[in-house]
Symmetry: C2
DNA sequence: TCGATACGAAACGCAATCGTATCGAAAGTT
DNA sequence: AACTTTCGATACGATTGCGTTTCGTATCGA
């Protein structure tokens, strides 16, 4: 291949700018190529040479997100559940990781293809890992045999997600929320 | 007062158009006065005569939402909790009522004033009612004396909200989800 | 009936963003 | 050294929406 090769640095700067803006809460509709170019310190040409439109840019950018999947210990259900929620909590504090929730919650209706790819790539693997922790807990007799695993997962993750979204990027999710959530869920609300 | 009075019908049409569009998932940023005017069958003048900008229009429109607050029976905590979640579930099926979640989840970061007013007007009263149900349950000895009311509320409502957002406007939230959520929460996950 | 105000429609100038084109300079290959 | 491609910058016409103004008509109170 002849000619000047494409700049790796420019490409990374574009993707970084895109992810940062989405993390800040800019919707896909609002995200302007011009803003991305400016923020990345790059000409618009350089973006359009690589991606033909905004959605492609967003999809490819999100695909570069490599969120480390926590590895559950497998012996203590309580500890594993807290660990998963703690990952959600700490990630919510970093701008970049807010992409995940922002895309999942805000863009599902309007960009179904984007949402579907993102769901398969990021969300479902995590849900499955979480599900396995609960299943192991049931199998080990640590959790009720008739526990509704899907509902249990929804209660814990839904609480974290709602809290994250409601509190906004400025506020922090309380450090002890994962522990408190898991303990309340394990004990049950009812007096005995 | 002299002169032609302002048209009640036009005003209602404008507010309805605004709420419908928000319910459909149009963000406040995307919501254009021109689109509202067209949809309401009204001139832009008629809108600007009443509201000086988009945010005012949205705030006032949301303020007209009179979401019937369920009246808890006060005797059976389980029944009251299920009733609250059931209201959330059934409302999520109607376009108009999706305004509540759409605004609360998507616009908090970008329109903090709007979010604050909306929170005081719509969200907090409901949260408080929900909180009271749990408090009464504790006082009556039906729930654990050391129950973390805030965490309990977060688990139940967060689960409903997440499920609603994740499933999108097309899908329906399962009818039995409120019951399953409340029963799991009351029992606790742990084997005894 | 008359004067005041609201009505819907249309046009205004302004700003943002779109996707494309053009530029000279830079950075590679052959 | 010659050639090719990308670089960032800049300008382009098109489109959209803003908030304002103007228009002739409609609808009220006095």
């Amino acid at each position: 291949m002849r000619g000047r090769p494409r700049s790796e640095r420019a490409e990374k700067a574009i993707v970084d700018a895109t992810l940062d803006m989405i993390g800040e809460g800019v919707t896909v509709s609002e995200l302007s190529i011009e803003a991305v170019a400016t923020r990345a310190g790059v000409g618009k040409t350089t973006i359009y040479r690589r991606w033909s439109n905004k959605e492609d840019l967003v999809v490819d950018s999100l695909a570069t997100l490599r969120l480390p999947m926590p590895e559950p210990g497998g012996t203590d259900v309580r500890a594993d559940l807290i660990m998963f929620l703690e990952v959600m909590r700490s990630e919510s504090g970093e701008l970049r990781n807010r992409c995940v929730t922002n895309i999942a919650m805000n863009e599902a209706d309007r960009f179904p293809d984007l949402y579907r790819r993102f769901r398969e790539l990021v969300i479902e693997p995590r849900r499955e890992a979480f599900r396995q922790v609960l299943r192991r807990g049931v199998a080990a007799g640590e959790l009720r045999a008739d526990l509704d695993v899907e509902v249990a997962m929804l209660m814990l993750t839904g609480a974290m997600i709602s809290q994250t979204k409601m509190s906004g990027p400025a506020h922090r999710v309380p450090e002890d929320l994962p522990t408190r959530l898991v303990d309340e869920a394990l004990r049950g609300f009812r007096q005995r």
